[in-house]
Symmetry: C2
Amino acid sequence: MIERRQTIQRDLVYKAVEELHNHPNAQEVYLKVKETHPRIGMATVYRNLNLLVEEEKLLKVPVSDGPDRFDATIIEHCHIQCIKCKRVVDIDYTPNMVKLMNACAKTGYTSISPNLVISGICPECQNKN
Amino acid sequence: MIERRQTIQRDLVYKAVEELHNHPNAQEVYLKVKETHPRIGMATVYRNLNLLVEEEKLLKVPVSDGPDRFDATIIEHCHIQCIKCKRVVDIDYTPNMVKLMNACAKTGYTSISPNLVISGICPECQNKN
DNA sequence: GTGCCTGCAAATGTTTTGCAAACCT
DNA sequence: AGGTTTGCAAAACATTTGCAGGCAC
């Protein structure tokens, strides 16, 4: 096990994701942290986002469109992404974990974490068209 | 509405995804098509994959790791990806669509297609460690 | 002091775009 | 003929990596 140190940058990256609370991507986290710590580099943001995901302090949300997004809410919940403006919001749905785990077991895979993303069109973009 | 023509390349891209049936990424589709049509370009593969997704003839599977993958099976089903070898296989689980749609409705989003991806470790990679 | 972490720059990898020629209808 | 589509190359993005110096412990 590698020693893991506490750094200002790591804290700031975590807090940025938490405060932005709208599933920011790395770019948005970078800009947020830059406000209070202008010398931070993009690589540091990526490195810390990945470390935090590994430590299960953050959730990586894979979306079918655009860069990966991050979420500080670790409890199980799902996401819907607008195919036009790419915005992501939470939805109040959790899969049936028993059925899910059984289905996984059949494949021989060891399941880790489910990630449900739905494509949709948000109210704003519906009105624009 | 834009006119859409039938081309050999489009057919080959679709058939490649269908025949590979293991959720290939663009690179793998490119190599498969190259076998019978060596002059095809990567850009053509990407353009046609995107067109086919738009026409709902293919499904884009957003994975949390690595390039996007494509699936010719349009009927609802979910996927599990190995975090080590990145392989993707189908799982026999479908979300409860009624609950899911209700949850979406609360957000005001118009739902299109759910896409559940689970992270796991495949049997082969479990044995390697 | 040791060795992980940072910031910079450069590399890598994926996907898109511009353009002239080729092709479908 | 006219407008899409192709193939190539280059551009645009997203993310990772190498390295010298800085910082946590």
